[in-house]
Amino acid sequence: MKSLAELDKLREEIQREMALREKKEGIKVVVSMGTCGIAAGARDVIAVLLEEISRRNLQDVVLTQTGCAGLCHCEPLVQVEGPGGEKVTYGHVDEQKAREIVAAHLVNGQVIKEWTVKEEGERV
């Protein structure tokens, strides 16, 4: 360690890895992992999301999962929650769509309207 700048660089790298232990304002990506979600392929979707987020070195994105969202016919479901709390829910997500959601929505802030689903009522 030859300078403070060098320490700061290392710090930022590791902070990404630990970001999910901090309650920071950022984008939250939630995948429904109820029984039907898993059956429909949600596990592959979450793996792809994780891979894409790491590969692109995205800061302040937290990837997590939840139980049944009550929209079994649209699984796999991916919900993207912005820092302001606004939510967009994508349905029938597959591996390819997951990659595009990361590129379009998380990186460029563009919602892919045709893949979104309306949420009927509250999530469970």
């Binding site: 360690m1 030859k2 300078s3 403070l4 320490l7 700061d8 290392l10 710090r11 790298e13 590791i14 902070q15 990404r16 890895e17 630990m18 999910l20 232990r21 309650k23 939250k28 995948v31 429904s32 992992m33 109820g34 029984t35 898993i38 979450i46 793996a47 994780l50 987020i53 790491s54 937290v62 990837l63 997590t64 999962q65 939840t66 139980g67």
Partner: protein
């Protein structure tokens, strides 16, 4: 660098280790692997999270879900439900006593909510074996800042202005201590960390080293820069092998990154740290005894002055500070003196870590701003007294400290107010006592401890505390005499003023403070031969209630002393002369007819 979508933090502090966290961790790992989640979920071992009586505890991020009292079978359920399917396992959450709904995340739990963590900022949050995780939490930035942006004098000034005082007992201003050493003549100077932690019941220093060892190293290095020292020593007691191991590892990793050793951060400042393992006698925590022990001599105190600041290790100027004091240094440098001075009270700045123990619902480690009241600590964080019992007093400061009765529960905790009540802050042991504690017996316990630990070098301490102990033992046996209380007070005052070191100078405190606040309890033992709390065995009288006793004879049958007489179907009677106070009869009576007084 791999990203994970969940981090599972498993507490591996001393409390959780003893309640079986290793088996829980193994079960978690096995099941994560079985479910194929090892690429997505990371398991991290941390130091003590605080609520030790709820152990083993884990926290699952990013949600921060807090699970407690886990068994290995619970780990299976958490892996299958939470980690795989994202469903919180409700029955493993913490259930606050007064609320119907369980708390999901630890932020919702009063125990955590009311705390301000500075010294414990990383403990229970990072993996203590990873210097990288420490760095991610701004570790070594304070050292970097000091070396590249501040002069040694500015570092001294910052610590002085922050108002930080020693957390090892006496509360001496830390900046002033450093300044004495900085100004002392001589080129060779030393920095020492006191991790002896001899107070029975205290474990915060251990938890800091086990949970966040780098903060101590960083604090010491900053001091080394400020005073012109290039060598530091950490004196740890041998009973803390895990602390020693983690510290060794931390030193090695810090060296590898060039954060210890030569030319740190590319400057001409060099600093290194070595560990010394102590024998673990209480008196070895006293600073002059500790230094003697590091030098390889017997751990015996010597008179001060000269103070270690001027003549310490091998006669060289030496700064010696407590573990918790060191843990406060990096955040002060990083956030500034004003930030630190804005927390706490007029004369006691910052926070204090307490090891909350005894008759209180939530025991464990808590860190609160100075000035928090005892009531807040015991009732809001500690959750009050279990079993519907009455609060009686709180003992602070260990064997050098004293008791504070219920009438002073609203006292703000700082150095001066505790001293004013005849107790002290000490290193932060806080034992809650309820109505079933006998104050005379408690005083005896601490006196017995210091009597055993006295090094014997000076007579007031060696002989004086022996005399006090004998008197207390007599009182407890029911042989107390008129004038005993006054005699204890006189002896106590004399020992305090004439003993050579802090051990003897504070040894009478538990006795004097219990006399001060609970004089009537001493009087009851001496004059009425009664122990109001029902603890002192020789003073308990077993009696049978004439109304409740139906003469079944069960008690007489089990009495080993044949002390119970009575005709069948008529009230029985205990012969006090014969009774050996074993309590067997009371246990056996189905009609609650036998009671003590």
């Amino acid at each position: 660098m791999r990203l994970y979508r969940a981090h599972v933090l498993v507490c591996a502090g001393a409390g959780c280790i003893s309640s079986g966290c290793q088996a829980v961790k193994n079960a978690l790992l096995e099941n994560i692997e079985r479910l194929g989640l090892q690429q997505e979920v990371k398991v991290v071992e941390t130091g003590c999270m605080g609520p030790c009586d709820l152990g083993p505890v884990i926290v699952v991020y990013p949600e921060g879900v807090f699970y407690r009292q886990l068994k290995p079978s619970d780990a299976v359920e958490i892996a299958e439900e939470h980690l795989l399917k994202g469903r919180v396992v409700r029955h493993l959450l913490y259930q606050p006593a007064e609320s119907a709904t369980p708390a999901t995340t630890f932020e919702q739990i009063d125990f955590f909510k009311k705390q301000t963590r500075i010294a414990l900022r990383n403990t229970g949050i990072i993996n203590p074996e990873s210097v990288e995780e420490y760095i991610a939490r701004d570790g070594y930035r304070a050292l970097g800042k000091a070396l590249s942006e501040m002069t040694p004098a500015q570092v001294l000034e910052c610590i002085k202005r922050s108002g930080l005082r020693g957390r090892g007992g006496a509360g001496f201003p830390t900046g002033l201590k450093w300044e004495f050493t900085a100004r002392a003549p001589g080129d060779t100077k030393y920095v020492v960390c006191n991790a002896d932690e001899g107070d029975p019941g205290a474990f915060m220093d251990r938890s800091i080293i086990e949970g966040d060892p780098h903060t101590v190293l960083e604090g010491m290095a900053i001091c080394g820069y400020a005073i012109g020292a290039r060598q530091g020593y950490v004196y740890v007691r041998a009973e803390y092998p895990l602390a020693v191991e983690r510290l060794e590892l931390a030193i090695a990793r810090a060296r590898r990154y060039g954060l210890l050793g030569d030319n740190i951060f590319g400057t001409d400042f060099s600093f290194d740290v070595e560990i010394r393992v102590g024998a673990g006698a209480f008196v070895c925590g006293e600073e002059t005894a500790l230094l003697a022990s590091i030098e390889g001599r017997r751990g015996e105190p010597r008179p001060r002055p000269p103070f270690p600041a001027v003549q310490g290790l091998w006669g060289k100027p030496t700064v010696i500070n407590n573990v918790e004091t060191w843990a406060n240094v990096p955040p002060i440098i990083l956030n500034g003196a004003d930030w630190f001075a804005s927390i706490g009270t007029e004369k006691s700045k910052g926070t204090k870590v307490f090891a909350l123990a005894g008759k209180v619902n939530n025991t464990g480690l808590v860190e609160v701003p100075m000035g928090t009241t005892l009531r807040e600590i015991i009732y809001e964080i500690g959750g009050g007294i279990p079993g519907g019992k009455q609060f009686k007093a709180v003992q602070t400061g260990g064997p050098s400290g004293g008791c504070i009765p219920a009438s002073h529960l609203d006292v703000p905790v700082d150095y001066e107010s505790l001293t004013g009540l005849g107790a002290i802050m000490g290193s932060g042991g806080m034992i809650v006592l309820d109505e079933t504690t006998c104050m005379v017996d408690l005083a005896r316990f601490f006196l017995e401890f210091v009597q055993d630990e006295s090094c014997g070098k000076c007579s007031p301490c060696r002989i004086g505390t022996r005399r006090m102990l004998e008197i207390l033992e007599r009182i407890i046996k029911g042989q107390g005499r008129d004038g005993d209380i006054e005699l204890l007070e006189e002896l106590g005052r004399n020992i305090k003023s004439s003993a050579l070191c802090g051990l003897g100078q504070t040894a009478p405190n538990p006795v004097l403070s219990t006399i001060r606040h609970f004089r009537a309890e001493y009087a009851a033992h001496i004059y009425d031969k009664k122990c109001p709390a029902g603890v002192c065995k020789d003073l308990i009288v077993y009696t049978i209630s004439e109304e409740k006793c139906n003469g079944c004879g069960r008690c007489a049958l089990v009495c080993p002393a044949r002390a119970i007489v009575g005709e069948k179907k008529k009230a029985h009677r205990i012969d006090v002369e014969k009774c050996i106070r074993c309590g067997t009869c009371m246990e056996k009576c189905k009609f609650m007819a036998i009671y003590t007084m």
